[in-house]
C-alpha cells in the first residue's frame, strides 16, 4: 500500500492511496483535487502502474472538492492505464466528481501538435528569399504610389481649387515651424564640433584659417541638409505614418473613400507639399545655424574674428556650394513624405501594425535619403560643381 499526498502544513491537499490486491489495483482518492494541490501529484500519477491485464478501481468517495485540473489529472491517469491494457472502474463518485470526469471525457480531443520548428539553415534561406521578394514588391508598389501621387499632384496643379489650403498650412506649421528649435540646436552643435575637431587637426599644419573652408563646405553641401532630413524623417515622416495608420485602423480612410474623398488628395498631397516646401527653408536655417556655431567656435578657439570669418567664407565658398545643398532639400522632402504616407496607408487593421510601419517608415526614409544623397554627389562631381 502506497500513498501520495500533497497536503502541506495546515492546508489539506489531494491524496491518492494505491493498493495492489492480486490482479486488482485499488485506488482511493481524497482531499481537494484542485489546481493548487493536484498539480503537485502530477509526477507521481504519471509513475503509477497497475498489474498488467488487471482491473483498476478508483474509489472517489473521499474527494471533497474538484476542479477541472484535478479532474483532468485523474482522467488522464485512468486513460493511460486503460491504454496500457487495464480495465478501469469508478466507484463511489459523488455526482460532482462523476460530472467533472464526464466533462473531461467529452472534451478530450487530440490537440494538434505545434507546427514543427524548421531547420535553422532552411529558415535563414527561406527568410532571405521572402524578404527579397517582399522588397521587390515594395519597390514596385512604391513606384506605383509615386505615380499615383504625381498624377494627383498634376491634377491639383491644373485645378488649384482642389488643393486643401488649411491642412497644407497646418502641416507646414507642424513640419516646418515647429521643427526650428530642434533643427537649429542640432546644426549649431554640429557646427561647433566640426570647428573644434577641424581646428585641432589643422593647427598641426599651421593651417587654422582653413577651418572656415572646412565648415563652409561641409555644412553647406552636406551636413546642413542631411541633418535636417534625418531630423524631419524622425519627427515628421513617423508622424505621417502614425496619423494615417491610425486613421486606417479606425476605418477613417475607408469612410473617406465611401464619401467620395480621395485619400491621396486629402491626406497625402497636403503633407507632401508641406514637406517639399518646408524642407528647403529648414535646410537654409540649418546652414545658417551650422555656420554660426562653427564661426563662434573658430572665434573662441582660433581667434578668427567674425569679420575675418565672413571674408574668408566669401572668398572660398562659391554660390554653387550653397545651392548644391538646397537643391537636394525638396527631393528629400518628397522622399520622406512619400515613404511616410505610403507606410501609413499600408497599415493593416491592428495597432501593432501602426508601430511596425512607423519604424519602417523612419528607417526606409533615412536609407533612401542617404542613397539619393550619394547619387547627387556623383552627379555634381560629374558636372563639376
Amino acid at each position: 500500500m502506497t500513498a501520495i499526498d500533497s497536503s502541506t502544513d495546515g492546508t489539506q491537499g489531494a491524496w491518492l492511496r494505491s493498493d495492489v490486491q492480486d490482479r486488482l489495483l485499488v485506488l482511493a482518492a481524497g482531499g481537494r483535487w484542485n489546481m493548487a494541490s493536484a498539480v503537485r501529484l502530477q509526477v507521481d500519477l504519471e509513475m503509477l502502474e497497475g498489474p498488467s491485464g488487471g482491473l483498476v478501481e478508483l474509489n472517489a468517495a473521499e474527494i471533497t472538492g474538484i476542479d477541472s485540473t484535478g479532474a483532468w489529472l485523474l482522467y488522464r491517469t485512468l486513460k493511460r492505464l486503460r491504454e496500457e491494457g487495464l480495465e478501469t472502474r469508478l466507484v463511489n463518485a459523488s455526482p460532482t466528481v462523476a460530472e467533472m470526469l464526464d466533462q473531461m471525457a467529452a472534451n478530450d480531443v487530440p490537440h494538434p501538435a505545434a507546427p514543427p520548428v524548421e531547420n535553422g539553415l532552411i529558415r535563414v534561406v527561406r527568410h532571405m528569399g521572402e524578404t527579397t521578394e517582399e522588397i521587390f514588391w515594395e519597390v514596385i508598389d512604391g513606384i506605383a504610389f509615386l505615380g499615383l501621387v504625381m498624377q494627383t499632384l498634376g491634377g491639383t496643379l491644373l485645378h488649384p481649387s482642389r488643393l486643401r489650403l488649411t491642412p497644407l498650412v497646418f502641416h507646414m506649421e507642424k513640419v516646418g515651424l515647429n521643427a526650428l528649435p530642434i533643427v537649429g540646436l542640432i546644426s549649431f552643435l554640429i557646427g561647433v564640433v566640426l570647428a573644434y575637431q577641424g581646428a585641432t587637426q589643422l593647427q598641426k599644419f599651421g593651417a587654422e584659417v582653413f577651418v572656415v573652408d572646412l565648415i563652409g563646405v561641409s555644412v553647406l553641401r552636406e551636413i546642413g541638409i542631411l541633418l535636417t532630413a534625418i531630423v524631419v524623417a524622425g519627427r515628421s515622416g513617423s508622424a505621417f505614418t502614425a496619423q494615417i495608420g491610425s486613421m486606417k485602423v479606425n476605418e477613417e480612410v475607408d469612410a473617406m473613400r465611401t464619401l467620395g474623398l480621395d485619400p491621396i488628395q486629402v491626406l497625402v498631397i497636403p503633407r507632401t507639399l508641406a514637406l517639399v516646401l518646408m524642407l528647403p527653408l529648414l535646410a537654409f536655417f540649418s546652414d545658417i545655424m551650422g555656420l554660426l556655431g562653427g564661426g563662434l567656435m573658430a572665434w573662441s578657439v582660433l581667434d578668427v574674428s567674425p569679420g575675418q570669418f565672413i571674408e574668408r567664407l566669401n572668398g572660398s565658398i562659391g554660390m554653387w556650394t550653397f545651392w548644391v545643398g538646397i537643391i537636394k532639400a525638396p527631393v528629400f522632402g518628397l522622399l520622406i513624405a512619400l515613404v511616410g504616407c505610403y507606410e501609413g496607408l499600408q497599415v493593416a487593421n491592428s495597432a501593432e501594425s501602426v508601430g511596425s510601419r512607423t519604424t519602417r517608415s523612419v528607417v526606409e526614409s533615412i536609407f533612401l535619403v542617404m542613397i539619393v544623397d550619394a547619387v547627387f554627389s556623383i552627379f555634381f562631381a560629374y558636372i563639376g560643381i
Binding site: 498539480v39 502530477q42 477541472s68 460530472e99 466533462q103 478530450d108 490537440h111 505545434a114 507546427p115
Partner: protein
Amino acid sequence: MEVINDDLPTTAMAMRLRGVKNQFGAQVIHESLDLDVRRGEILGIVGGSGTGKSVLLRTIIGLNTPQMGRIDVLGEHVAALGPNDRHEIEARWGVLFQDGALFSSLTVAQNIQVPLKEHTEMSDVLLDEIAALKISMVGLPAEAGNKYPSELSGGMRKRAGLARALALDPDIVFLDEPTAGLDPIGAAEFDQLILRLHAAMGMTVFMVTHDLDSLHAICDRIAVLAEKRVIVCGTMAEMMQQAHPWIHEYFHGPRARAAIATKEA
C-alpha cells in the same frame, strides 16, 4: 428585491460592495453604490449607456480605485490586501474583456497558459493538455489552439478569451458584454456555453450586458444601474413588476417583448 441583505452570512457572498463612489473629474459616476452578489449565481448588470457598468466591473477587479467605499470579494477586503494576497485573489477570478483582450503576440493556447504558468507549476505536457481541454470546453475546434488572435473571428476570440478567463477554474468570472457584436446564433450559443460551464464548474458569474435574450436565458438575478447606484436587484419576474420608468421601459419595450416571446416559444 432589495439590493443588499446584511442578514445573509458573508460566506454566502461572492462580492459585497458598500458605499462605493467613483468620480472622474467633476463627473460623479457612482455614489453610495451598494451591491451584493451571492456565491454561485449569474448576475446580470444592466443600465443605460454611460451609467458606468464597465466602470463598476473595473472597480471590482481593481483596475479602477474608487474614491470612497469598501469592496469585499470572496470575503476579502480587496483594497486592504498586500501584494501577495492580492496576487492570490486575482487567481480566483477571471475576466473576459469586451473583445477578448487576448495577447496578440501569443497563440490561443499560449494565451490560456499565461495564467497557468503564472500561478501554478505544471509540466509543459500538462500545460498543453489543460490548454487543449479549455479550448474544447469553450467549444473551439482543436486547431484554434495554434492560431493567433488575429486569425480568429470575433466570436472565436470571445470564446478564446473565456477559455483564458476560465484557465484557473476561478470562483468568479467577470464578463463584459459577452454577446455584444455576435450574431444572434453566436450570441445564443455563447449564452448556452456560459450556462453549461456554470453548471459544470459552479462559479459566480458577474455579467455586464445589454442583451435582453441573455438576461432572460441565463441570469439568476439582474441588477439595474441608474441614478448613480444600483436601484434594484432581483429576478426577471421581479423586474417585470417594477414601476420605475426606465426599468419599465427597458423590460417592456418592443425588444423586451420580442425576447420574452422567444423565451416562451
